[in-house]
C-alpha cells in the first residue's frame, strides 16, 4: 500500500467535489443560507401568528347570560373578551371561526351558587383554531378567578379560614444547571441533526465518485493504472469522509447561527443565554464517537456506489438506507428510551445515544468503548467489502 497513491486519489476526489456546483450548494449554500433563513422564517411566522392571536379580542357567545349575571359581568370587564348574548347561530359561527367560544349557563346557576350548591357550566371551543384556544385560556382565567371568589365567600360565611382547603403549599425548584439544560436541549436535537448531516453530506460525493465514474467511463482508466484497488477504495473513502465531516461542521455552524439568531424556533429566544458545558475533553470524546460514524457511513455509501450500475441506480439503493438512518435518528430523539448493553452494538443508534449522554455530562466508558469499537469494526468490514467489490469484474462491468 502506497500512501502517495492514496493521497493522489484523495486529492483528485476532493478537487472534483469542490469544483462540483452541486456539492457546493449542498455543503455551503444550504447550511449557511437556507438553514438560517428556514429557522428564522419559521420562528418569525410562528411568533407573528401567536402575537396576532394574543392581540385579537375574543368574541364569546354567552347563552343564558341572565342566569349568571356576576360571571357575565366579570367576562364583560375583560379587555380582550367581547361578549355577545343574543346569538341564535352560535354553534355554526364557532365552527366557521366568526366567534371563538360559547359559554352555556343553565337556569338557576346564580341561585344554586347562592344556596351553596354546585352547578355546571359548558365552555365550547375549537381546539384546532389558535384564536379559539386563546379565547378558552382567557375564559378559564376569568372562571378560575370567579371560582376562588365564590369559595372564599363561602368559607367566609362559614367562618372558616382559607387554609382549611390548602393543607400545604407545593413549591417547585429546578436543580438542573444551565449546562445540563443546554446539554439536554442539544442532546435532544444534536445527535439526530449530526447523523442526518453526515449522511446527506456524504451521499452525493460517494455516488459521484463511484457509480458516477462507472457512468462516465472513467473507471477503466483507473483500473489499468499502476495503483492497487485497495488504494483506490481508501482514497475514495477518505475523500467521502472529509466531505461528509466538513458538511456536518458547516451544517452545525449554520444551525447554530439559526438558533442564536434569537427569533428561531417559535421565537423562544433560541439557546441564547444558555451556558454550554462543552469542554475540550467533551469535544475530544464527541470526535471519538463521530469519527467511526463518518467512516462507517462513507464506506457503506461507497459500497453501494460501486455496486450500482449508474448514479440513478445508486440513488435508489441509498434511499432506503437513508430512511433507516432517519428512523434510527428519530429513536434517539424519543424521550425516555434507554439502550441496554448489547444495543450499543447497533451502529448509528449507539453513536446518537452516546453523543446524547456526553452532551448531558454523563460519561459511561463502557458505552463509549463499545460504540467506538463496534462502529470501527463495522467500518473496517465495510471498507474491506468495498475493496472486494472493486476487485469483482462482474460488479465493475455489470450491464
Amino acid at each position: 500500500m502506497n500512501w502517495k497513491n492514496i493521497r493522489s486519489i484523495f486529492s483528485k476526489e476532493i478537487i472534483g467535489a469542490i469544483r462540483d456546483k452541486r456539492t457546493l450548494i449542498a455543503m455551503i449554500i444550504v447550511p449557511l443560507v437556507f438553514y438560517p433563513l428556514l429557522f428564522i422564517g419559521m420562528g418569525y411566522f410562528s411568533q407573528m401568528g401567536n402575537k396576532k392571536s394574543e392581540e385579537t379580542v375574543s368574541i364569546v357567545a354567552i347563552k343564558g347570560e341572565e342566569f349568571a349575571l356576576q360571571l357575565s359581568k366579570h367576562l364583560e370587564n375583560q379587555e380582550k373578551i367581547k361578549t355577545i348574548t343574543k346569538e341564535d347561530n352560535a354553534f355554526a359561527k364557532l365552527e366557521s371561526g366568526e366567534i371563538q367560544a360559547i359559554i352555556e349557563i343553565p337556569p338557576q346557576f346564580d341561585s344554586k351558587i347562592k344556596q351553596r350548591e354546585s352547578s355546571r357550566l359548558v365552555l365550547k371551543h375549537d381546539s384546532t383554531e389558535v384564536k379559539s384556544r386563546v379565547a378558552q385560556k382567557r375564559i378559564n382565567l376569568v372562571i378560575d378567578e370567579y371560582l376562588r371568589e365564590i369559595v372564599s365567600q363561602r368559607l367566609n360565611d362559614l367562618n372558616l379560614d382559607e387554609e382549611i382547603i390548602h393543607p400545604f403549599v407545593l413549591e417547585m425548584e429546578n436543580v438542573a444547571s444551565s449546562e445540563k439544560v443546554a446539554g439536554t436541549f442539544l442532546g435532544f436535537l444534536l445527535p439526530y441533526l449530526v447523523i442526518i448531516l453526515i449522511f446527506a453530506g456524504a451521499m452525493h460525493t460517494a455516488i459521484d465518485i463511484t457509480a458516477g465514474e462507472k457512468e462516465r467511463g472513467t473507471i477503466a482508466t483507473l483500473l489499468v493504472s499502476q495503483i492497487s484497488r485497495l488504494e483506490i477504495v481508501l482514497g475514495k473513502c477518505m475523500a467521502v469522509m472529509m466531505v461528509s465531516f466538513t458538511s456536518m461542521i458547516i451544517g452545525l455552524f449554520g444551525i447554530s447561527i439559526s438558533l442564536l439568531s434569537g427569533n428561531a424556533i417559535a421565537g423562544s429566544g433560541g439557546i441564547e443565554g444558555m451556558k454550554l458545558g462543552v469542554t475540550f475533553s467533551t469535544f475530544l470524546l464527541l470526535f471519538l464517537i463521530l469519527l467511526p460514524l463518518v467512516g462507517l457511513t462513507s464506506s457503506v455509501l461507497v459500497i453501494v456506489g460501486i455496486f450500482a450500475r449508474n448514479i440513478k441506480e445508486a440513488s435508489s439503493y441509498i434511499t432506503p438506507i437513508y430512511m433507516l438512518t432517519i428512523f434510527l435518528g428519530v429513536i434517539s430523539i424519543s424521550q425516555g428510551i434507554e439502550l441496554s448493553g448489547n444495543m450499543f452494538l447497533i451502529p448509528i443508534l449507539n453513536s446518537s445515544f452516546v453523543f446524547k449522554e456526553i452532551l448531558m455530562g454523563k460519561i459511561y466508558w463502557s458505552h463509549i468503548i463499545t460504540t467506538f469499537s463496534a462502529n470501527m469494526i463495522i467500518a473496517g468490514i465495510a471498507l474491506l467489502g468495498a475493496t472486494r467489490l472493486f476487485n469483482k469484474e462482474e460488479v465493475l462491468f455489470r450491464s
Binding site: G217, T218, A220, T221, L223, S225, Q226, I227, E394
Partner: protein
C-alpha cells in the same frame, strides 16, 4: 509483445446461464506491428482487450504482455500497457494538465518527468492552446487528444486500443488513426479492435476476424484474400461469418 494462448472467457448470466464471450483465442502481436481484432458488436473484442488490460481475468488460457502474465503479474503488465477505448471517459472538472498530472502520479512517475513528458505531448498533439481549459469545455476532438495523451503519458510499449474511433466525426477519427500509425513507427506493439473494415484494412498488419467469441481467421490482408479467394475485406468477413453460421 502480446501472446494469447487458448483464451476463453465464460460469464455467468442469471437469465442466459453460461455465456461464452471468448472462445479459445490464439494470437500474437509483435513489437512495431498493429494487430487488428475485427468483428461485429458482441463478438468478444472488448472482453478480450479487457483481459489483456488486466481488468478481467480469463476463465481459461494464458495471456502474456511483454512476457508478464496478466493473472499472476497484473502490476507488471499495467506498467507495460496504455489502454484507450471509445468508452474511456475523462474527468470533466479537470484541465488536460491536471488530468495528466494525476495519471502520471498514479502511474508512479516523478513530478519532473511528468512535466517534461507532458510538455512533449502537448506540443506533439497540438494541445498547447487548451491545456488549461476544463475538459467539460473541450470539443470531442480535443477530448480524444487528451485521452491519447493519457494513454501514452507513461510511455507504454504496448497499446491496447478498443474501438478508439467509435462515435467520432471523420476528422477526429483521422487524427486518432494517424496517431495509431505513429505508435507503430515508434516500434510499439498495438492491438486495435474495430468493426470498421476500412480502418482494419488501412491500419493493421495482421487482422483477426472474430465472431461469437471465436477467431474465424487471421493473417495479413494478403493472406486473408488468398485464403478466401476474395478481394474485399468486407466480402471476406461476410464469407467467413456465413461459413461459421452454416
Amino acid at each position: 509483445m502480446i501472446q494469447v494462448e487458448g483464451l476463453t472467457k465464460i460469464f455467468h448470466d442469471n437469465k442466459r446461464g453460461e455465456v461464452i464471450a471468448v472462445n479459445n483465442l490464439k494470437f500474437n502481436c509483435q513489437m512495431g506491428k498493429i494487430y487488428g481484432l475485427l468483428g461485429p458488436n458482441g463478438a468478444g473484442k472488448t472482453t478480450t482487450l479487457r483481459i489483456l488490460a488486466t481488468m478481467m481475468r480469463p476463465t481459461v488460457g494464458k495471456v502474456k504482455v511483454n512476457g508478464f502474465d496478466v493473472v499472476r503479474e497484473p502490476d507488471e503488465v499495467r506498467k507495460q500497457i496504455g489502454f484507450l477505448s471509445g468508452e474511456t471517459g475523462l474527468y470533466d472538472r479537470f484541465t488536460p494538465r491536471e488530468t495528466l498530472q494525476f495519471f502520471g502520479r498514479i502511474n508512479r512517475m516523478e513530478n519532473e518527468i511528468i512535466d517534461k513528458k507532458m510538455g512533449e505531448i502537448f506540443q506533439a498533439l497540438d494541445m498547447e492552446n487548451f491545456k488549461d481549459v476544463r475538459v467539460d469545455k473541450l470539443s470531442t476532438g480535443m477530448k480524444q487528444k487528451l485521452s491519447i495523451a493519457r494513454c501514452i503519458l507513461h510511455d507504454p510499449s504496448v497499446l491496447i486500443l478498443d474501438e478508439p474511433t467509435v462515435g467520432l466525426d471523420i476528422i477526429t477519427a483521422r487524427t486518432v488513426t494517424n496517431y495509431v500509425e505513429s505508435f507503430k513507427k515508434q516500434g510499439k506493439c498495438v492491438i486495435y479492435s474495430t468493426h470498421i473494415m476500412r480502418e482494419a484494412e488501412k491500419l493493421c498488419d495482421v487482422i483477426g476476424i472474430i465472431h461469437h467469441g471465436k477467431l474465424l481467421a487471421q493473417g495479413t490482408l494478403k493472406e486473408l484474400k488468398k485464403y478466401s479467394s476474395l478481394e474485399d475485406l468486407e466480402e471476406i468477413f461476410f464469407e467467413l461469418i456465413g461459413r461459421e453460421n452454416s
